[in-house]
Symmetry: none
Subunit: 498 residues, 2 copies
């Protein structure tokens, strides 16, 4: 049976992907300062080995023969995912894969100190190397898959997603969002928000974060919370590793970050156990993944309903601070703090209203970098021009808060940024659909009870894994293709009313 | 060039060994409760891959051709190590490897509860299976390598070590140590030692441990200290991971454990960077490795000279406890506490005087088990007879503290035990040689300054990696073959004088 040969082969690949996930987490969270160079070598070799398994010449024949053997929805979908994985893998030779991996690891490691030092001149040659290699990879992939080079990269993060689908959506956003932002800023100018005064000790932040993770359904038997410079969700589905970074002057920042990553983590923990070692059992691309984190963070946890549940827990975590500012620690003020809107330089600090504008900037730039119409040396100027146009802000030589602020490009992740905003749109659309199915959803959220929402998501998103392509998953779960309407309605409801 | 093909191939193996080391550390230190099953699969697949690389059919031809190509000491040694590694890998077929691994895993898992329950009858059949398979593996390996079966197992932990070298050494120990132990117990019976009263909070223990690790030369840019159930030294040479387990009632236990592992760690950190990814660049077997941990723990850190340096730091770490018992926290009493000697049943709790007697017992028994002159069913009687002869203690049916106390045999590790005592002998011999070369060694140790000793070890042991076989390394470093004289002199000096 060729299909069982295929599944056995992909089981081995899944085991090595498990290893790679844990090693990657270790590199970001645990690795010693001087351990980077040999780690880069080790990770590159693991990448080469995985690449070797993915390009095994027997796979093509197995796929041919298996097509006649499989009948069920899951098996057919698995074969489709295997075909896609194999086609992408054979398109790029191992020398290029290794070069990309090694350049990206070194560039990312350097970024950690060079960003802090605002050292654009030091970082530029490393990033040039990464971009040159990614251009090459995009071209080779595009030729093999009959895709535009940028689409070929995008497809690696979000299978089936194309610029042809993103362009009209981002155009709509570009059309309504700047005016809506103006309206919102004007409407909220008169709302008095009292900032919380710190310091907020790290250990109490850690405890509050864990308590809320448990409340919203993170399973600590199947995962951990740690610290890293750049928060992320990694690991494997029965051992999900999320990280955060604490700031003594603002506990809500790490807290909302933790809840965001918890959204990612619950998706991973909710994938079908019996499919965990097959391609069809994996999460359905980065846009759907981001929809789960933003549904948790933006749609649920920053909502006034959930903040009513959160407020007493926060006061309990910081009793001295809360007693010193009783008016500031009300649910109402805490909710208002979570609904501040402001034009700012930093994407990861941006509110959900301005966030898509940061993404539109990055989408334009990375398309130009891959398309060859922009060079790395001209990146700071392009960044500054885009920020002026979209957000009315200038960067100057503050590279660390400009084009060096994100690790993505330095780590070789071009084609990833649009998934953030596609995820935000989908989160709103899922929330809207769930609210139709669960009439008392807001009341349950106000009690900190996410089980009805989780049950709904488990059936329609988590357990569907990669059985459907993303557009079909979205249509099946929400009854409509991905669009901007639910997101726009959400912004208007949260920021213009009440 | 076949030699460069070989080094490239073994570089890839080293990279995957790096990955396996970090993954293994993660499993012991970080893994979530429910993460074990998929992790076992992932680690097994990594093992299969590594085995595949080690048995690559091209290696044999490369070795043949490379013999004519290499000239320098390091290259020749590397080729020798590669030949040994490959010969061991191809000698045992994968069916037997898997059977051994499976039987050992089942037996080790059962041991955890059966030892606690003193259930020898339940454990016996599982251990019989392990021993039968290890006999088979030893025979197959021995035939392939032209070695006695037990030597073939020993060689896996300590390349080049042979029973012909161990037998006369252990015979000498069996000859002088029981009487010396009598003498020591008699001489020390009148020494009054005041135990320290706890509790000792974990955070202060952690800080004190880190402070002493730094003082004795652990490089925290190239390593970490964490916690695990069974303390160990893992990771890779530029990112060494040591672990400990804290006991609130006794801080010296974790502290001396940490310093022991620091000895292992400094050896790894001191290996030649330029050879890190080749077999010749690895540590020179388990006896030399253990010599480094015991040199640190027994020769240096438990010495009265070092305890003079340590005492004020310990008082500073636990000011309340020290103030409550001023007489107990003197350097003199702390040193006396580290020099207690007692006949006891349990190897891991034994002092350095009685420890070799525990090892001689195990060595005799495991040789007989592999040689077929002792069956597992007769193990308890053999154990009891050996304990009576060597330590004057009887076990009766207390199997838990008798032949079931160690996990080694249940986990398939036969041939490992002698390296503990060979390491202790070598530690004393190295210390003696270093003292000849560094006239003020004791004074420097009393100041907590190990740099002269480190410089001496770096040149003679650490940087020599696996360039020499162990017997030559020992002769080159100490001027004599491995023997008991230095160890005996050390015991007499520490436990009979002053």
């Amino acid at each position: 049976m060729s299909y069982s040969e295929l599944t056995a082969h992909y089981r081995r690949i899944a085991h090595l992907e498990h290893v790679a996930a844990i090693i990657g987490w270790d590199e970001a969270v645990m690795m010693s300062r001087n351990g980077g160079e040999s780690r880069a070598d080790a990770q590159a070799s693991l990448g080469v080995l995985l690449h070797g398994l993915r390009t095994d010449p027997r796979i093509g024949n197995w796929i041919e023969a298996a097509a006649a053997e499989v009948a069920g929805e899951v098996e057919k979908a698995n074969l489709r995912e295997i075909r896609r994985d194999h086609a992408r893998a054979v398109a790029v030779d191992s020398g290029l894969v290794e070069a990309c991996s090694r350049a990206a690891t070194l560039c990312e490691q350097a970024w950690r100190t060079q960003r802090a030092d605002n050292d654009w001149q030091g970082h530029r040659p490393l990033l040039e190397e990464v971009v040159a290699l990614e251009r090459e990879r995009a071209t080779v992939l595009g030729e093999a898959l009959s895709l535009d080079p940028y689409d070929a990269l995008l497809d690696g993060y979000d299978p089936g997603m194309r610029t042809a689908m993103i362009d009209p959506i981002f155009e709509e956003i570009g059309g309504f969002l700047p005016q809506l932002l103006e309206q919102i800023l004007e409407a909220r100018a008169s709302i008095r928000v009292m900032p919380l005064e710190g310091p907020f000790d790290i250990e109490s932040q850690r405890r509050l974060g864990r308590r809320l993770m448990e409340a919203v359904g993170f399973d600590f038997n199947c995962g951990r919370l740690d610290e890293s410079h750049h928060p992320f969700c990694g690991g494997v589905s029965d051992d999900v590793r999320i990280t955060t970074r604490y700031d003594e002057s603002d506990f809500t920042r790490a807290l909302m970050g933790v809840l965001h990553e918890t959204g990612h983590a619950k998706y991973e923990q909710g994938l079908p156990v019996e499919l965990v070692d097959q391609p069809v059992g994996q999460a359905r691309g980065m846009s759907v993944h981001e929809s789960q984190s933003l549904l948790m963070e933006m749609q649920v946890c920053r909502s006034p309903a959930f903040v009513r549940f959160l407020a007493p827990l926060a006061r309990e975590a910081f009793p001295g601070r809360a007693a010193a500012q009783p008016d500031a620690w009300t649910a109402g003020n805490l909710a208002a703090l979570q609904a501040r809107v402001e034009r700012s330089l930093i994407r990861v600090d941006a509110d959900e209203v301005t966030y898509p504008l940061h993404i539109v900037l990055r989408y334009r730039i990375e398309r130009a970098l891959i398309g060859g119409t922009l060079e790395v040396r001209d990146l700071p100027e392009a960044w500054d021009a885009g920020m002026r146009e979209l957000l009315g802000l200038s960067i100057g030589t503050n590279y660390r808060d400009g084009c060096m602020q994100d690790v993505h490009w330095s780590s070789g992740a071009l084609g990833y940024f649009p998934t953030y905003t596609l995820g935000a749109l989908l989160a709103a659309q899922l929330r809207q659909a769930a609210a139709r199915a669960i009439p008392d959803l807001s009341e349950r959220i106000a009690e900190g009870d996410l089980r009805p929402l989780d049950d709904w998501l488990r059936e329609r998103v988590w357990q569907r894994a990669s059985i459907l392509e993303a557009p079909e998953l979205i249509r099946e779960a929400t009854g409509a293709p991905l669009g901007t309407a639910a997101f726009r309605a959400h912004l208007e409801e949260r920021y213009l009313t009440g």
